[in-house]
Symmetry: C2
Subunit: 251 residues, 2 copies
């Protein structure tokens, strides 16, 4: 465990100071049109902007700890973060992976039900939770966006439950590769059967997502490569050669 804590020491309600950089211009934000902020008009955006701070999070650092007071919520601007639930004896299960424009944190709740840790260097637009809760309560459109997003997340989580409870190691890895291929190769075109992408994390993390060990995960990938289903040009690169066959394996 080399992970270290992000400590929002001088966090205060309202205009938070002492950490991060003030948000200067939401209008030019990279996720302006994809994040929940897309529901706001210029005036509202300026108001919310005053509550937020841009915050860099280095890979491996933890923004929220499972069980601790959920002091902050945030939008992801850049990088990839994981949501982790751990058991008393140290087993870990990744219960969510968030990308730019995704929302993190637990609004309207006291304790964070999971840890949030950066898997790559990341940048987030962070809010004091109470301030955000108040703002959201006063802005139905924002709340509507948040509701839709939460419903989508719930669907995704439930679909993942099927994978965790009922699929074999081979099916798990195949499903994982297909989902990552879709989420990582951008909203762009996935025309051909071949598709390559770079995973933002290593084998152990794949295992923690799939409920497997690192050895089993590695073996499955090696076997798929041997069968010509995929190439592994480098540790974190994956090229799916035969999408249809991969879909068949995913069950």
């Amino acid at each position: 465990m080399t992970e270290t804590s992000f400590n929002p020491s001088s966090l205060s309600t309202g205009a938070a100071t002492g950490y991060g950089e003030p948000v200067t211009d939401c209008a030019t934000c990279v996720v302006r049109n994809r994040a929940i902020c897309a529901s706001l008009d210029a005036e509202e955006l300026a108001l919310l902007g005053r509550l937020g701070r841009r915050q860099r999070v280095k890979a491996g650092h933890t923004l929220l700890w499972e069980g601790d007071d959920a002091l902050v919520v945030a939008n992801v601007l850049e990088g990839v973060l994981k949501l982790v639930v751990a058991s008393a004896d140290g087993r870990e299960q990744i219960v969510g992976v968030v990308f730019p424009s995704d929302f993190i944190g637990r609004p309207f709740g006291k304790e964070s039900p999971y840890s949030v840790t950066a898997m790559t260097d990341a940048e987030v637009c962070i809010f004091n939770r109470k301030s955000f809760d108040d703002f959201a309560s006063a802005h139905p459109d924002l709340q509507h966006k948040l509701l839709r997003r939460t419903l989508d997340e719930l669907d995704r989580a439930r679909h993942w439950m099927m994978l965790l409870g009922r699929k074999s190691a081979e099916e798990k890895v195949a499903s994982f590769l297909l989902e990552m291929s879709e989420r990582l190769s951008g909203q762009g075109c996935n025309s051909g059967a071949r598709s390559g992408f770079e995973l933002p994390f290593g084998r152990q993390q794949i295992a923690d997502i799939l409920g497997l060990t690192i050895e089993t995960t590695s073996r499955q990938l090696t076997r798929m490569r041997a069968e010509g289903l995929l190439d592994l040009p480098s540790r974190r690169e994956i090229v799916i050669n035969d999408r249809a066959a991969m879909e068949a394996l995913a069950g």
Copy 2:
């Protein structure tokens, strides 16, 4: 498969007729203060009531099919229903269990991501989804309630992912019994270490919740009985003798 479909054949937008009974008096509804309707005042309640119909669902009948158009949403008045995701080859994973006052269905979404099937005879207050979506969009307080509920469901689902991905059969069964004990023995007092309750479903369903087979589930229960942890007075009754020990097993 003896499950049969509930077919809302003459479903129309607005005041739906031709199925169920019209809602006569929301004010005296058994779940009036616990369901999302609790956010509404008398006038709003009357409006929503006009959109709803009381509908009985017999045990084993399916209200919504995975992948089909999600035509309806509903509040549970009585009984217990399950949310099921199935794979092409017939494996099933129960991804949620809903009780009276819980909300079911997928607002703001076209396809239902899972099937909803009654585990016991049940009664629901059912709405045409589109009408409900419109009503919700116009009533921020209702939407707020729905958001909180969805966030809670998401937390529960993610917690369950840890169980499915990382826990042993013994830990799964122990966790399950503790959770059911809490959700079934009502909001009442759970004073003593001993607690008994009646499950609304059989062994196969427990297995489908835990991602196990019926045999493994049965063996774990028998073993726990042999060790004095619990009693099994009848097929569906469970008495936990030593709650602390059970919590230790749950991991």
